[in-house]
């Protein structure tokens, strides 16, 4: 492969990345708000992971359903 081809590939790499970046970040933003609007997820509640972090505090989202039943 000569240097010109490599440079061309590099340029495509850049363009691909820039588009990919824009698409991912915007769709992520869209996803975050849509999930909240539809009520499937409440992202803001996760801040409580830091605020209620004693070992005997109830997890914000328990990992196993059985844990929840025990409480």
């Amino acid at each position: 492969m000569n240097m010109e081809t490599i440079r061309e590939l590099q340029a495509y790499g850049y363009i691909f990345f820039t588009i990919f970046l824009a698409v991912i970040l915007y769709s992520y933003l869209y996803h975050l708000y849509k999930a909240e609007k539809k009520g499937t997820r409440n992202y803001e509640q996760y801040s409580n992971i830091a605020l209620h972090d004693n070992l005997d505090d109830a997890p914000v989202e328990s990992r196993t359903p059985s844990n929840k039943e025990k409480e």
Binding site: R7, E44, A50, L55
Partner: protein
């Protein structure tokens, strides 16, 4: 949760790393102050024979504060925060306890060996990657142990969702692993030639390629050691200390991916005016400027977390440390992209403005945040209230003065130097010989060193305050929910 009633978070490893943070902080910053004074008063080079010259001490200072002070600070907070946001105690897994202890001891041995070898002048000269190959291997081992500790704890977690701080710790782990491995590729000469010093090695890359790998590492090591883990700290400690939920958790998630996407693309700005094609250099500059967005996303998120609670800034010195840290984060993430603009870079490169910029970030952002984190952890780890609020207040103001003296003198020195190097007389000849551009800076060097000294004094106050907290402070009965208790 009956079964877990007697269970507590296990802070033994976090405590060990806290001591290491203080120890290496003192060593690293003390050497920093010495070399800063050496630039103003060259006679100070002869305090310890060949082991006391600027050349020997400079790598010790950088490695000491980065891999000694800061890294142990990151580990200390990880062994504290990790358990809490995953809601699982290390004591639940004897395996993870062993890994944690082993991690600490291998770390201590490695860093102490690093201090000794750098004093002796054994190193590869690549900035922030000076260690020779046997120590590089030790670093890899301790990094793998840290990885086991992170993913092991995640494996037994109770909290299903990973808190945003965890994201940043994971990114630190992965980023540094990749960068360190590639930049330290070297061939031990003894095993090829069968003679000479057994620990000597030669870089796998030559010349320009070596420079590219080094600055790819140098730039991104700043990302993954100075930025990412400190954001991990502030996303936990600021909300916890103030009792305020993060202003917008969604913004924190978005900033995370923004930072991951953009940071590594900005590396091109270290290669300005080299043989790299123009458009790659320009892309480097552009991405550096885009980088302001995710950085400020996190910083503003932190400032807005305090919305309506600004009174805490007056009452609680810990909040003051953290808010000041995020303000400085905003300043240095604005200053960096400015220096990445090609015409500014032509002036600023190789001058004192660059160390000035680095220290904005390290003293203001990294140093303040790490100390605030340890202050917050101490009452919970030792079950005693913080020893003295007054001492913290004065420490804050002494260190802030130090930082301001540091960066203002280095701004002036850097720009003066850059302008004098290029100044010409009316016939187009260079106006100054090199030594003219050195002697003019000596007052600024003295000012800078004094700024550093103030910061060091503040650090001693920090160490003393923590020491008293651990030993004689009033015991507290139950763990405080938010604001850390402190005696006047």
């Amino acid at each position: 949760m009956q079964a877990n009633h007697a269970l507590n978070y296990d802070y033994s490893v976090a405590k060990c790393f806290t001591y290491a943070t203080i120890l290496f902080g003192i060593i690293g910053m003390l050497i920093g102050v010495v070399i800063a004074y050496q630039m103003a008063f060259p006679d100070l080079n002869y305090l310890a024979g060949e082991y006391g010259t600027f050349g020997r001490l400079r790598p010790l200072h950088t490695s000491g504060v980065i891999f000694g002070f800061l890294l142990s600070g990151i580990f200390a907070t990880w062994y504290y925060v990790g358990q809490r946001v995953l809601k699982v105690s290390m004591a639940e897994s004897p395996f993870l306890m062993i890994v944690g202890r082993l991690h600490f001891w291998i770390y201590m041995i490695t860093i102490l060996a690093a201090v000794v070898t750098l004093f002796m002048g054994i190193g590869t000269s690549k900035e922030y990657a000076e260690l020779e190959w046997p120590l590089d291997i030790a670093v890899v081992v301790l990094w793998v142990l840290w990885g086991i500790s992170i993913f092991g704890l995640i494996g037994i977690r109770r909290e299903k969702t990973l808190y945003i701080s965890m994201w940043y710790y994971i990114a630190t782990f992965l980023g540094v692993a990749m960068l360190y491995l590639f930049n330290n590729m070297e061939v031990p000469t003894y095993f090829v030639a069968g003679m000479g010093k057994w620990y000597h090695s030669v870089s796998m890359y030559a010349g320009t390629n070596d420079a590219m790998v080094q600055w790819w590492y140098g730039h991104n090591a700043v990302a993954f050691v100075f930025t990412v883990p400190i954001i991990a700290m502030i996303y936990y400690f600021l909300p916890k200390e103030s009792g305020q939920p993060v202003f917008s958790y969604k913004l924190s998630l978005l900033s995370f991916w923004g930072l991951m996407f953009v940071y590594l693309w900005a590396g091109g700005h270290h290669l300005l005016y080299s043989t790299v094609p123009d458009w790659v250099q320009t892309m480097g500059s552009i991405f550096s400027i885009i980088l302001i967005l995710p950085s400020w996303g996190s910083a503003i998120n932190m400032l807005l977390t305090m919305k309506g609670q600004w009174g805490q800034l007056k009452e609680n010195p810990l909040i003051k440390f953290m808010i000041f840290a995020s303000t400085f984060y905003m300043l240095s993430t604005l200053e960096g992209p400015i220096q990445a603009i090609k015409s500014v870079n032509a002036l600023a490169h190789f001058t004192d403005w660059i160390p000035g910029h680095v220290h904005d970030g390290t003293l203001g952002w990294v140093g303040f945040m790490t100390m605030a984190a340890l202050y917050h952890m101490a009452p919970r780890m030792y079950k005693r209230e913080l020893y003295s609020k007054k001492l913290m207040e004065s420490q804050f103001w002494i260190q802030t003065t130090g930082i301001v003296m540091y960066f203002s003198s280095m701004w002036i020195a850097g720009i003066t130097q850059g302008m004098m190097w290029r100044a010409t007389d009316q016939y187009g000849n260079l106006a100054y010989s090199f030594i003219d551009t050195v002697t003019v800076l000596i007052p600024y060097y003295a000012l800078r060193a004094t700024g550093g000294l103030l910061y060091l004094i503040g650090f001693f106050m920090f160490a003393y305050n923590l020491y008293k907290t651990m030993t004689v402070s009033k015991a507290i009965e139950r763990e405080p929910q938010n604001a850390s208790p402190m005696a006047a």
